[in-house]
């Protein structure tokens, strides 16, 4: 008898709440807590800071709207950050802390494939969706996880755009020297090229791995010089991209194309290298020049403007910022579609998500990674980033070939 009474009471409560929520203008609901461990110190500080900018940019916007609209009730949002010191294991520990102690409703990804991989396991164990924007290694998505979603194009696509573009250039470059860091993500980027290049009539004549985070890459550059490549490709990180480019100048390694997977898109690359940064290509998830028609949130131009207003001394937002914002948008739209804060329902809404934003199409394949959005190719021309491929989104022609170091 007691049990029935309790049941009736619960029904009444739910009805009252539902009526209150459904009547006219949205009411304010409980605050949604999102959790994200980021490398606020350590070797990934720069990239993590960009990730945080992307998250915060969306956070400001959504709270200005009153919060996420869940079936008529607007829930304000907070993001709880922890410093994982750029350490993947620490990131997983903090992710667990965010779930158990801070009661995070949903998770946003950390920076980098290594931390994303360890965090994905935590999300899976706790059955709480994690939407991430900075872990592109396919190894994360080949584990059969059901709660991890990546809005970015997978690692093997990072430099394929550069190869596609190179195939259209005259004289056509054929010899590729590939220098890769030895972390999962970078190796997948590199392997993507080793597998793909022959289909475009090119060969990888040198494939050299170096230790992730290396600052001295003179011997690798020397090895590349030994094979007189047309294209020097690097799959690594910002610090290594700068180190390779400096060493290339010092050791007079000339090539028709220098392209780096990560690095040139950040303002630091141009600041560090000055005019030596000119002519460098990179495969980019997004550029401020892309032309997408967003279904909600800001247009590309408004997004760039909003970024510049919030971070005035940073120049244009780079793709790390944009993809991080996109992760928040995917989560927001999924929560709205699910009309619920229940982790399982939101997870199902993420599976079904298909929406175009300023960042491009967001749709996940059966593994949870976004293979539907193309990568674009950027080139630094006269100290500024320009999109040069694919031609339908490009704002400039590629400046090709790259002049020798003595002719600049």
């Amino acid at each position: 008898m007691k049990r029935v009474n309790l049941g009736l009471f619960a029904c009444a409560l739910v009805l009252t709440l539902a009526c209150g929520g459904g009547a006219g203008s949205p009411t304010t609901g409980s605050t949604i807590v999102l959790g994200a461990p980021l490398g606020l110190t350590g070797s990934l500080t720069k990239e993590s800071a960009l990730t945080k900018q992307g998250y915060d940019l969306w956070l400001d916007w959504i709270n200005k709207q009153g919060g996420i609209n869940v079936d008529g009730t607007k829930h304000p949002v907070t993001i709880k950050y922890y410093d994982d010191t750029s350490n993947a294991n620490q990131s997983a520990v903090l992710m667990q802390k965010l779930i158990t102690e801070d009661k995070a409703n949903f998770l946003l990804g950390p920076y980098g494939s290594a931390a994303t991989a360890t965090d994905a396991a935590i999300a899976e164990q706790n059955q709480i969706p994690m939407v991430e924007a900075n872990g592109a290694a396919q190894s994360i998505f080949n584990q059969g996880y059901k709660y991890t979603f990546g809005v970015l194009s997978p690692a093997n696509k990072y430099l394929q755009g550069v190869v596609d573009m190179a195939a259209t250039l005259n004289p056509k470059p054929t010899r590729i020297a590939m220098l890769s860091a030895d972390d999962n993500f970078s190796l997948e980027v590199a392997q993507g090229i080793v597998d793909y290049a022959p289909s475009k009539g090119m060969q990888v004549v040198l494939y050299k791995k170096y230790k992730n985070g290396a600052t001295t890459l003179t011997a690798e550059v020397q090895a590349a010089r030994g094979v007189t490549p047309d294209i020097v490709l690097n799959s690594g990180h910002l610090a290594e991209a700068i180190a390779i480019h400096k060493a290339a100048k010092e050791q007079k390694l000339n090539a028709k194309i220098f392209a780096y997977s990560v690095g040139p898109s950040t303002p630091d690359f141009i600041k560090s290298l000055g005019k030596d940064a000119n002519f460098v290509y990179d495969g980019s998830q997004w550029t401020p020049q892309v032309k997408y028609e967003p279904a909600f949130y800001l247009s590309v131009a408004d997004y760039v403007a909003a970024y510049k207003a919030k971070y005035p001394d940073q120049g244009d937002p780079d793709y790390h910022v944009a993809e991080s914002t996109a992760a928040c948008l995917a989560l927001q739209r999924a929560i709205e579609n699910a009309k619920s804060l229940d982790p399982k329902k939101v997870r199902d809404a993420l599976v079904a998500l298909d929406v175009t934003t300023f960042y491009g199409q967001i749709k996940f394949d059966s593994r949870g990674i976004n293979i539907y959005k193309p990568m674009v190719v950027e080139q630094i021309q006269d100290g500024a980033h320009h999109t040069v491929y694919p031609t339908d989104v490009a704002d400039k022609q590629p400046m090709y070939p790259t002049p020798g170091w003595d002719q600049r």
Binding site: T45, Y210, E220, E250, K252, T266, F269, K271
Partner: protein, 289 residues
Amino acid sequence: MGDFVQLLIIGLLGGGIYAAVGVGFGLVWGVLNIVNLAHGALVIIGAYLTWQTFTAWGLDPFLTLPIDAVALFVLGYAVQRGVINRIIRAPLLFTFLLTFGLNLIAVNVLLLVFKSDFRSVTTSYSGAGLELGGIVLPYIRLAALGIALLMAAALAALLSRSRIGLAIQAMAADRDAAQLVGIDLRHAYAVTYGLGAACAGVAGGLIAMIQAITPTAGEPYTLQAFVVVILGGLGRVSATVVGGLAFGLIEAFGQSIPGSGSVFANAIAFGVMVLVLVTRQQGLMGRLR
């Protein structure tokens, strides 16, 4: 053959930087018996000083090196006098903990001040070099090697010729005896650490010209300095220089092994270090203490 010569040059030039980083670390370790985990942070403070004076006043980065040395000497002197002296006779673990903490503080202060942006000193002659029959000698790295050797020579001369240098040597030999003959230990400790920091500052200035720096970029240098000092041998400046050059050569040739790359370079460097420790405990050139 050309490749071999080029690798030899790359190794020696890289070794110059390691020697520059190593001498200050070796001095502090040898004399004060402190494995200074904040050494990398001192290096990066020097690097930021060079970057700051270069970007703010347009001063040639080589001219900023004396500024780095003086500023870091003062900082090092103050840190030793005010902080580390308090536990100088405590077991090694305490100095480990303290310098580790100092390192954290320094890195995070740098993060607050300079953010995590990558900075680099790029001059009109950056990356330029001499080309001789396919072999390249980058000017800045060549100059860095020269400065590293000069700095080491100056430090060695200071230690063997000057009054404070002799006091430091006496203190390294026997602290109590040195105190008995009237050496002000607290001052001598602080001067030693200051000299170590000054060397780190100069090394940092050189590094700012060669690589992009961030507040966290110093950490690998602490580890490398450790290996360099063990390789060369504790207790003599010249031994550290030999250790640095050896480390540079090992790295260059280790990275060039086909199919390995720098994935192996660290393993090789540490392998050689272990080998040296097993076969010659005093290092390649060191004296047993």
